[in-house]
Each structure stands twice: as C-alpha cells, then as structure tokens.
C-alpha cells in the first residue's frame, strides 16, 4: 500500500525519485514566486515529502498497519524586518500561492524583529549519506516479521509475564529548501525504529520495561536485542516497592540521563536566554559543569536521528561544543539570535515538519567524558539508586528556573551492588547543579531519540533528593 495509489515510490536516485525532487522543487519555487509577487522582500519555502509506515503487533498478530505518502510546503515571508509564516498540505500550486500570500499578509501585521531575514551564507554541509535505500525495498511483511521477532524475544525472558505491544515505524523524508536569495538545497533522510514494552510480575505488582532500537533502515534494527532489553528492564523492576526518602547520589541510565540532558538542551537556546527564560542566561563562559564533561551539538553525525546538511533556514550544519572543560562556551543560535548577540549562527534553526516555522533548538546532543565500566560506576556510587525510568518531565521540569522533580523507578544500590527495586518515588534537584555534580560516565553510550535526540551513557550524579515514604 502507498498513500497515493499509482505513485509507487522508488529509491531517491531512480526516475520516480527525480520526478518527486522536481515536484518538491517546483512547489517551493511556486510558493517563493507568489510570496515575492505579493510584496515579500525575501522569502523561503520548505517543501517536504514523507513516506511513512507504522506497524503494531500484539501476540504476534498485526493490530495496525498504516502506510502513506504525504507532502506540503511551509513559506516564510519577510517584509521590512517583520516576518510571517504559512503552510499548506499537498503540492497544489493555487493552494501554495495562497499560503504564500497569507505569509506576506501576516508579516505586515507582525512587529519588526532585529536580525530577521535570510542567512548571509547558505549551503550544505558535507554529511554522510542519511538515507538507506534498503528501507524502500523492505516489504511491510518484513517489518511485521521484525516486530514479531522482537515480541518473541521479549516473551522468552523468564520474568516476562506479558508484552503490551511492539511498534515498528519508518520514514523516508525528502526535503527541499529554496529561498529568494537563490539558495536551493535538498536532502533525503531515512529512519526506522522499533520499540517494545514488556511486563514482569503479576497484575497489581506488575512493572514494565522499555526496549528501543533506531537505524536508517529496518535491516539495521536488531529485534531480538530490543525485545530482550524490554524484558530485562522489566525484570529488573519486578516486585518494586516505595523506598524511603533521602538525599543521595544516583546513577541515571542512558534513557533517564538523555531525558535530563534534553531538558538542559532546551535551556541552551539563545532565544530562551535573550528573553530571560533560561537558568543559564548569565552563565556564558562560566563554570557550569564538572570539568570532565563535554556536551556538543552535532547535526553531521552519520547515525544522528536529527542529522541534516542544512538547518531550517539553509545554514550549513556542523559540530558546536556547547560545554567543554566544564565551561559554557556558547548557546545554540539561528540567524536572528546570532545577529542580535553579535555572533554567528550555529545552524540550529529547527523545523520539525513543513507545518512549523524554524525555531531555535538543539539537533543531536552528544554527552562525552571519560567513561568507566558500569560495575565501576556502581562501585563509585556505593549507596544510592540506579534510575531506569523517569516520567512527567514535561510538567516536572521548570525550564525557567532549572529545578526539576519527576517520577522515577529503578533499583536501590547498596555497597556498590544492585539491591531491591523501587517505584512510586520522585527524584528532584536543579539541572544547573546536576551538570556540576556529574561524578562519572558509564560505557553504555546509546542514541535516545525520545525527547529530542541525545547520545549519552549512564551518568553518576551526586546530590539528588529522592522522595518516597
């Protein structure tokens, strides 16, 4: 099945692929011309075509199978230092022209914004191939089989009592960005991911575990490892009870660490900073993290889920060290915030789809430092907690003050050894203190594409308040 009946999609390099690229380019040009004709002094158009697939399997039966091709264009129009944005689904030229005219009309009612405009320098960074054409060759049956294999692997774990479901999803994304300053760039990126939730323990005492894998094509996924991971994580928590409250050191596993690092990433947006909404606002150049810690933004990594050759404004992407040697070196910028701060854009204008205008945000965040084996991490911790799940981050993190208090489950650590599992507790602290209190990094680095896109190992952090009984 495909979303558009006759349009059987073939690989990006084939005749059909070229036809689509032309269609996207033509759609972008149509929008640009209409914007300029309506009075825009400058404009850009982001045309996108996405082929996506989703499979849900439960008890080895297909519960849901969806497949579609969808497209649309987002137009930004600049008039006298002001800007407006409009989008339309589909590539129909009259609707694109109407969206372009709407963007111009909206720009006229906006207020003037210092620095607004197209980048002075557009281009495409050298990035590895982000599209794996094997994805297009994979049949839906193959994807269903992957999900089944994942579920079997989860159920094969001794402690697993049930599996909620296995979800497989993939996307083949073709993007064309064109602007009135004669830039036209294009890239294709593919991604395939699967996740599984397994249960351990009987109803009432049940705990769950999550397994996840991500690659550029389904052929790159390891369904057995993903299922096993879900089962093992559930088994680790089986029989958990509410622990007593205390202040102690904690090892956040890579999933939990990634969620907290993603929250830090949002606070490093130059736009939040310039508007006084970040706890890092007055910390540029200051000591903000333990000296061993490096955090970089890098949109050029071959396996980075957010990698792309240019950002949402057409600035070529790169690698930017945000925190190194414990010091805060820079915030992430787009063209507007960079001009206001008197610096260069870090190519961090993000668009999550054609339906959103570019906003300042991190791409792939990479946490680095000296890594030690997991057992050594626990030994260094001594007494505390190993946290494997965090929940309620969207309401439990205050992005303005940096304080956080979120739900957690994990395992009590005693004398450097995993002891009894724990649930129904919160971990709290301040994200600014957290970076300073990182004592050590584990050697279990992985990509976590859940809240943003983060590559991190487990982190040992001191000074966390744990609330339970």
């Amino acid at each position: 099945m495909t979303g558009k009946g006759q349009e059987r999609v073939s690989a990006g390099g084939g005749a059909a692929g070229r036809r689509h690229e032309l269609a996207a380019r033509a759609a972008a040009e149509t929008a640009l011309e209409a914007a300029v004709a309506a009075g825009a002094e400058a404009a850009d158009a982001w045309a996108e075509r996405r082929r996506s697939r989703r499979v849900v399997v439960w008890r080895e039966a297909v519960e849901e199978l969806g497949e579609a091709v969808s497209c649309g264009v987002g137009v930004r129009a600049f008039v006298d230092g002001r800007w407006g944005f409009a989008y339309a689904s589909g590539f129909a030229s009259d609707e694109l022209a109407e969206a372009a005219r709407a963007a111009v009309a909206l720009a006229r009612i906006a207020d003037r914004e210092t620095g607004a405009g197209l980048p002075d320098h557009c281009g495409q960074a050298e990035v590895p191939d982000l599209a794996d054409e094997r994805l297009l060759a994979a049949s839906s049956d193959h994807c269903v089989e992957l999900a089944r294999a994942c579920e079997r692997a989860a159920r094969a774990q001794r402690a697993v009592t049930d599996v909620e479901q296995v979800v497989y999803q993939d996307a083949w994304l073709e993007v064309t960005l064109a602007n009135s300053a004669s830039f036209a760039g294009a890239f294709t990126a593919s991604s395939a991911w699967m996740y599984c939730t397994a249960f351990a323990g009987e109803v009432g005492e049940r705990m769950s575990g999550f397994g996840l894998d991500i690659a550029r094509a389904p052929q790159g996924l390891d369904p057995e490892r993903t299922g096993r991971e879900a089962g093992e994580r559930a088994a680790l928590l089986a029989g958990a009870t509410k622990p007593s409250s205390r202040r102690c050191a904690v090892v956040f596993d890579a999933f939990a660490a990634a969620a907290l690092v993603a929250a830090v990433g949002e606070m490093l947006s130059a736009e939040q900073v310039e508007r006084g909404r970040s706890p890092f606002a007055d910390k540029l150049g200051a000591e903000v993290a333990s000296s061993s810690l490096t955090i970089a933004d890098d949109a050029t990594l071959p396996d980075g889920p957010a990698s792309a050759p240019f950002d949402g404004e057409g600035s070529p992407t790169g690698r930017t060290e945000l925190i190194a040697g414990g010091r805060l070196l820079t915030f992430v910028h787009d063209v507007r915030t960079a001009r206001r701060a008197g610096t260069n854009t870090t190519a961090n204008a993000l668009r999550s789809s054609y339906r959103t205008p570019p906003v300042v945000g991190v791409s792939n965040l990479v946490v680095a430092g000296e890594q030690v084996p997991f057992a050594q991490l626990l030994a260094t911790l001594g007494d505390g907690f190993y946290i494997t799940d965090l929940s309620g981050l969207h309401s439990g993190v205050n992005p303005v003050s940096g304080t956080f208090s979120v739900g957690a489950s994990g395992v009590v650590v005693r004398g450097g050894e995993l002891a009894e599992p724990a649930r129904e507790m919160t971990v709290a602290g301040s994200l600014t203190d957290l970076l300073r209190n990182v004592q050590a990094l584990g050697d279990d680095r992985r990509w976590v594409p859940l809240a943003g896109s983060v590559s991190t190992p487990s982190l040992l952090v001191d000074g966390i308040t744990v609330s339970g009984r």
Binding site: E64, V400, T426
Partner: protein, 464 residues
C-alpha cells in the same frame, strides 16, 4: 441537526468504500478533514512569527480479522481516494463486501459560535495578546518577561463507513495562553494560565485576566519555599486539578489498554474502586467544553459516559473497533489528531461530579499537608498504574490554613491507591483545557473537577 455540505459527497464516498471493500473486510471507513489554524504569539513585547496553516486530506481504513489497515492522502478528490482505496484493498483476497448505502450527513450543533474567529481581524487578535501582555506586566515590576499567545482552529470533518454511518462536524476552538516570568533577588520563576474552549472569539475577547493570573502565579513563586517531601494529605484544586482524574483513572479506562490487560482497571468493571461519594464522567457532548465535538472521528455521536458511579467502576471508553471486540456500544471516544492518524480510544472531557463540601472545609480538615492548586501536567503508565503530576501552583497547609507558597512539588502515586484515598469532594466543578498525548497523537482534552482531597499521597520536592 442540520444538513451540511461536506468535503466529499455521499455518492463519492459510496464508490470509494465499495472499492475499499472489493476484496473483503469487516469495516471500511473514509475520514475527510479540512483544517485552518491561526496562531499569534507576542513575546518580549513584540508580535512575532504569526502563522496560518491549511490542511486538507483523507484517511481510509479497513478492519479485517480484527486488524486495522490504513493509508492517507493530502487530497479529497475522488480520483486520489479511489486509487488509495484500491491500493489498500489489494492486500486482501476475499470476496467483495457491499457497503450500506449512504445518506447525506447531518451536523449536530452542540454549542454556539457567536463570533466566528475568522470574522475577526488579525489586528484585533494582535491587540488582544498585547492587552494580555500588559495586564500581566501591570501586576508588578518583578514581572520581567511575558509571552502571550492566541490560537484558533476551524476544522471540518466528514466520516462515512460501510455500516452506513454518514456524519459531519464543524469544530471551532479558540485558546488564549500566557506565560509570565518574574525575577527578584536573583530568583526567577514563571507562571502559566490558559483559557480555551469550543467557542468563538467571544470566549477570549476580554480575557486579560489570563495575563493577570499568569503573573500572579509567577510572583507568588518568588516567595515560595522548597516543597516538602514524603507522604501527606493533599487538597487538589478545581479545574486543571482534574489532571488527577485524567491520569489516575481516565487513561486506564481507554478500551485498547483494557482489552490487552495493559490497564490496572482491566477486570474491575462493577467493582468498588473509590469511596461511595465519588462519581465521574467522560462527556464529549458538554456544550462549549474544550474536549467536546458533535461526533467523534469515527462518526459516533458524542455522549456523557458514567465511568465511576458512587465509587463503583461502571464504564470503559470505546472506539468502534474495541466496542465491537467487547460486544459493547461505542461511546463516542474514537478520536484522532488529524487525517494522518488512525483513531484510538481517547478521553474527551473527563471530570469528577461535584460533592457537597466547600473547598474551605477540605482545607480546614488538614493539619499539615499540601494545597496543589494547579498542575503543569502529568503522566501515567496504565499498565502499572504509577502516575506523576507536576504541581505548578501549590501552598503548604498548616493547621487547617493555607500558608506559604511552595515550588518544585510533584505528586507521585498509584491509581488504585490514590482513588481509594479520596476523602472529600467540594462543590465547585470547573473544566480546564489540556492537550493529551498518546501513541504519538495529541488531541484537545478537557480536564476538570471540583476541589478534591486525598488522605495521603507522596509529595516529591527538593527539601531533603
């Protein structure tokens, strides 16, 4: 009920559904949608990046042997729909099924839209966010930054299926939000307030109090003490406090989780889950409420469903597929984010029925506890029942009186234990606006309750 012109005519829908079921299937469905949305944000005293979106498309779905197969397209033209239908049908090899004939869909009007948002100039909307901004700043010199936003959407949907369902709905929503940042003596705090509903511009035209409330919350937090930790009684505020019911009960009653045994409420129908003075509803037909629609996204008329009656669990929330599976009547809870998504059982407006206590009574009965006025949001895992709520505005209760504001408080607990711990419900029901995320889809959901008191729940804070 009025006959309405639809995105796709019934005779076109009949031909598309016939093509969809050419090789069999228990249910064929066509969902069409047209949406226009406008958003204005005033940030840092400037109206920046106003945006307008328009979307049109359709989702086709076949249910075959209990499995759902679907595809969507950014078009509602007959040619595109027939091609998509043929492509979806080709996966099966059974005999054709003839869909039921379709009549013209009728529109059910739940609420009035006195002033259609599209009839109001953008300049007037820009002026509204400016007034909200200034109202927030007028609360005190410590208010250093304000972000005020206005959003409207008009959505027309039409749904046809092979059982003869022919429905359409026109949905207008407006929403005003304000975030204020306050700073004093090196301390920075923020407050958020929101008003929205299924209504026209009249709902928000003079709502500058949204700015005032946001600023007051931020200012109160400047004097806040660190939240206490440990188990204690908690009085939860009305309105957005209903996130409590949404997370601790609602998600666990959605039939997909129930049927997989992935909910702690599976198998508890007819069982006592709360004290006898607790009654709760999911009501998608509540006039003007944020989570209401004339019909759900499968064409089922929305309704008020009692989920807890005097402490007893009496109802689950169904879409068509899960209702069929359970041999139950659909409850109008089949909802989807857009034509790019298949429907799932989702809450509409979920709320506790009011009791007879006053909020003051509930607070007066607490010696040492927390008054959680409002939440920033929450999260639950229906399978384990463990939930968490972030308290965005909270105060200590000492000797029956509300005292110091607290910051950084979080409530953590387990659904069934929390429900059993309810020991008082006030009489001041209010419904607030939320967005609920599930399975990668976000839909507007009304959350509400009167003031509710829990005998004991774990408060997680930063005070060790």
């Amino acid at each position: 009920m009025a006959e309405a012109s639809t995105l796709v005519a019934p005779d076109v829908a009949e031909r598309v559904l016939a093509r969809l079921l050419a090789h069999g299937g228990e249910l064929g469905e066509l969902f069409c949608e047209e949406r226009r949305s406008l958003a204005l944000v005033r940030d840092d005293r400037r109206l920046e990046r106003p945006q307008l979106g328009s979307e049109r498309g359709a989702c086709l779905r076949i249910v075959r042997d209990g499995a759902t197969f679907y595809g969507y397209t950014d078009s509602v033209s007959e040619g595109e729909l027939l091609a998509l239908a043929a492509s979806l049908a080709s996966a099966a090899r059974a005999g054709a099924r003839t869909p039921a004939p379709l009549t013209a869909p009728r529109q059910r009007r739940l609420h009035d839209v006195a002033v259609p948002p599209t009839a109001v100039s953008i300049a007037e909307k820009a002026d509204l966010v400016a007034r909200v901004d200034e109202a927030a700043r007028a609360q005190g010199v410590a208010v250093v930054q304000v972000r005020a936003g206005y959003a409207e959407s008009t959505r027309r949907v039409a749904i046809f299926n092979s059982d003869g369902v022919s429905a359409c709905d026109e949905r207008t929503r407006v929403r005003l939000t304000c975030q204020a940042v306050a700073r004093r003596d090196g301390r920075t705090e923020s407050g958020v307030e929101t008003r929205g509903g299924c209504a026209g511009f009249e709902l928000v035209a003079d709502a500058t109090d949204v700015g005032e409330r946001a600023a007051q919350k931020a200012l109160a937090l400047l004097d806040a003490v660190d939240a206490p930790t440990g188990e204690m009684p908690v009085v939860v505020g009305n309105g957005f406090g209903g996130v409590l019911l949404h997370e601790a009960v609602g998600h666990g009653l959605e039939a997909d989780a129930v049927q997989k045994g992935a909910s702690v409420y599976a198998g508890l129908l007819g069982k006592r889950v709360a004290p006898p003075f607790v009654t709760a509803y999911d009501d998608g037909a509540l006039a003007g409420a944020w989570g209401s629609d004339g019909c759900d996204d499968e064409g089922t008329a929305t309704q008020r469903t009692t989920i807890i009656a005097e402490g007893e669990l009496v109802g689950y929330l169904y879409d068509l597929v899960r209702a069929r599976e359970a041999n139950a009547a659909p409850t109008g809870n089949g909802r989807r984010e857009s034509y790019r998504h298949p429907p799932l059982p989702r809450m509409t407006n979920t709320y506790f029925a009011p009791g007879d206590a006053s909020p003051e009574d509930l607070i007066a009965g607490v010696r040492r506890g927390l008054y959680a006025v409002s939440f920033g949001g929450g999260q639950v895992e229906p399978a384990t029942g463990d939930f968490v709520f972030g308290v965005s505005e909270g105060y200590l209760i000492e000797n029956g009186r509300v005292t110091a504001p607290v910051r950084g408080a979080t409530l953590v607990g387990n659904c069934l234990r929390a429900l059993a711990a309810i020991d008082g419900i006030a009489d001041d029901l209010e419904i607030a606006t939320g967005f609920c995320g599930k399975g990668g889809q976000s839909v507007p959901a009304g959350v509400g309750q009167p003031h509710v008191r829990l005998r004991s729940i774990t408060v997680g804070g930063t005070r060790a």
